[in-house]
């Protein structure tokens, strides 16, 4: 097979409607040649991981600005392990406190993005991960 097109699920768990970041990132990833499935608002960890399984996604990106990031990231990680997606990239963005970013690292979420981060950094991070995890 030639170049595998990176497939990304983007979702907003939780109740808030702040979807500007999620949509802008979705668009930027498409422009960078990735395939993006944007699930939209009010997703639960269950609906997100179900979609990731159905789509056989390489990357799951969560956008969370409500403060409930630890709960959602943990649950999505657990479900991904359970459903055989433990080798896929889980990342995301929002207002994630520095201390909580360290907690996320302990469950395998190496990097999340925040205010002021450049779109290119997100694209490069995903591409670099993909190069080192070719399936």
């Amino acid at each position: 097979m030639a170049e595998h097109r990176i497939k990304v699920i983007i979702a907003k768990p939780g109740l808030d409607g702040h979807d500007r970041g999620a949509k802008v990132v979705a668009r930027a990833l498409v422009e960078a040649g990735m395939e993006v499935v944007y699930l939209g608002l009010q997703q639960t960890p269950e609906t997100i991981v179900r979609a990731a399984v159905e789509e056989d996604a390489d990357v799951v990106g969560l956008s969370i600005l409500s403060g409930a990031h630890l709960m959602h990231f943990r649950r999505v990680r657990e479900l991904m392990e359970e459903r055989g997606l433990g080798d896929r990239l889980l990342t995301g963005g929002g207002i994630i406190p520095t201390k909580d970013q360290d907690k996320l690292k302990t469950i395998g979420i190496e990097r999340v993005f925040g205010p002021g981060d450049d779109l290119r950094e997100i694209i490069e991070y995903i591409q670099a991960w993909h190069r080192s995890h070719a399936r």
Binding site: L15, G67, A68
Partner: protein, 475 residues
């Protein structure tokens, strides 16, 4: 001067209000938490982890009583940022005032109650658009008769702008929403001059100083022209586009947060020169967290300097006649008129929402804005230029503990035990019946609020009749 605030439990928010009133603030502005904004109770499964996080939780009139304890509701004006369940949150507010012996006619304030911009930008709805629009006109009629000093709707461009629109899109989409509400009220049999003077607007004030001033001037011109010529309003008060302004939250940076004080001051000045009736200035730390008390104080002091020291508030429309401002105003007006035409072609605001028109337009602008920053065609001081190389971003943990959710849920269960549950059932059934028919729903909502029916119970009674709305995700 009206600073938006709300956090944690009603008691904690009540303390913040007293603090702000003591500092010289003249009105209150309530921020609700996410479950409340969706009309859900604090013990709903989807409320988990969100109770009291980005605002105050209100489940029933009991919470209203705690929220406004010892605050003289007849003397301050109260603004509530609530949309989908606005009518029943307001019913709880009214029931509380009634219980305290404050006549409805003395109450002053504003409900945001702008559901159209929810579909366009903010995304907090419960039902499909038409039942929500009916609830809004029902409330407009009720307030005309019983709460005459209340602004029943604040037609909001703020969120449209925060979602990433341009100034022209904010202007055009907000006023198009305004026309849509006017047309619904006319269809419900109201006279234009009865309700138009109580319509108010809410705009963003972003970084482009002159463009923002021009946008606010254009809004006044367009509104007056359409009210007079298209809707035949006779009272000059109906022609007025009165608006609140908030500085742009999305313009604040997490990097070098102190310089946000300067950004906010410039945006606030644009709002005042643009002729706003009231103003909210954001706090410097809001790109990172809910604001600290110190940051809130500086934001309020910023307004006080503009109002009491700078002299700019002594004159109306000081930039009128400037060749540059007049030109910008005209350009924005024309661009807005082109959008109105486009929206009409799509079948009106509701149809355009359903087709994702606004959503796509806004996402495109948000993307272009972000790309301009990424390619440094646009400068953001401290972010993509003039960066402090040794700055390491420390995002603080939001100090709201999980006990708020437990306390709030326990209070809710106590209320449900204490109240007359038979009366609640009867009122909710009457409400559902009325929803199925054509009568005004506001008195039924007030009846339900009086007997401590909860927010979620009322939402469910109504969604049983109206159904729920799901959006296709557009980007």
């Amino acid at each position: 001067m009206r600073q938006f605030s709300g956090m944690g439990t009603p008691e904690q928010t009540n303390l913040r209000y007293k603090f702000l009133l003591a500092k010289g603030q003249t009105g209150l502005s309530v921020a609700f938490d996410n479950p409340t904004l969706y009309g859900r109770d604090s013990d709903h499964p989807l409320s988990r982890g969100e109770v009291g996080k980005t605002g105050v939780a209100v489940d029933s009139m009991d919470d209203m009583e705690r929220l406004f304890r010892d605050i003289p509701l007849a003397d301050v004006s109260t603004s509530m940022t609530i949309n989908a369940p606005a009518s029943w949150i307001f019913a709880m507010f009214l029931a509380n005032a009634e219980k305290r012996g404050i006549p409805f006619a003395k109450l002053r304030g504003t409900l945001q109650n702008d559901i159209l911009k929810e579909y366009i930008a903010q995304k907090e709805w419960i039902f499909p658009p038409e039942p929500h629009l009916r609830l809004i006109t029902d409330l407009m009629i009720f307030c005309r008769d019983h709460v005459p000093q209340w602004n029943t709707i604040s037609i909001s461009g703020y969120h449209i702008r925060e979602a990433g629109s341009t100034a022209a899109q904010e202007l055009a989409f907000t006023l198009a929403d305004g026309f849509c509400y006017v047309e619904h009220a006319l269809k419900a049999g109201m006279d234009i001059d009865e309700f138009a003077p109580r319509l108010s607007f809410f705009f963003n004030s972003h970084l482009d100083f002159f463009e923002e001033i021009a946008k606010m001037r254009a809004a006044r011109r367009i509104w007056a022209r359409h009210m007079k010529d298209r809707y035949k309003a006779k009272s000059p008060r109906s022609w007025l586009c009165r608006f609140h302004v908030q500085t742009a939250g999305c313009s604040l940076t997490a990097q070098q947060p102190e310089i946000n004080v300067v950004r906010t001051a410039l945006e606030a000045l644009a709002g005042v020169l643009g002729g706003c009736q009231s103003l909210h200035t954001n706090s410097m730390d809001e790109a990172l967290a809910l604001p600290s008390e110190k940051a809130v104080e500086i934001a309020l002091r910023t307004q006080q300097i503009i109002a009491y020291e700078s002299g700019v508030a002594n004159v109306i429309d000081p930039l009128g006649g400037s060749y540059y401002i007049e030109r910008l105003t005209r350009d924005l007006e024309e661009e807005a008129e082109r959008y109105f035409k486009r929206i009409d072609e799509l079948g009106g605001v509701v149809r355009a929402v359903e087709q994702g028109f606004f959503q796509r337009e806004i996402t495109r602008s948000a993307y272009e804005y972000q790309m301009a920053l990424s390619r440094r065609r646009k400068i953001s001081v401290g972010v993509n230029e003039f960066v402090n190389a040794d700055e390491r971003l420390e995002i603080p943990v939001l100090e709201i503990d999980e006990s708020i959710e437990r306390d709030q849920t326990r209070r809710l269960h106590e209320v449900k035990e204490r109240r007359d549950n038979q009366a609640v059932r009867t009122r909710l059934e009457a409400l559902a019946r009325a929803a199925g028919g054509g009568e005004n729903l506001t008195p039924h909502l007030l009846e339900a609020a009086r007997v401590y029916a909860t927010l979620g119970e009322i939402s469910e009674a109504l969604s049983g009749v109206f159904g729920e709305y799901r959006e296709q995700p557009f980007y």
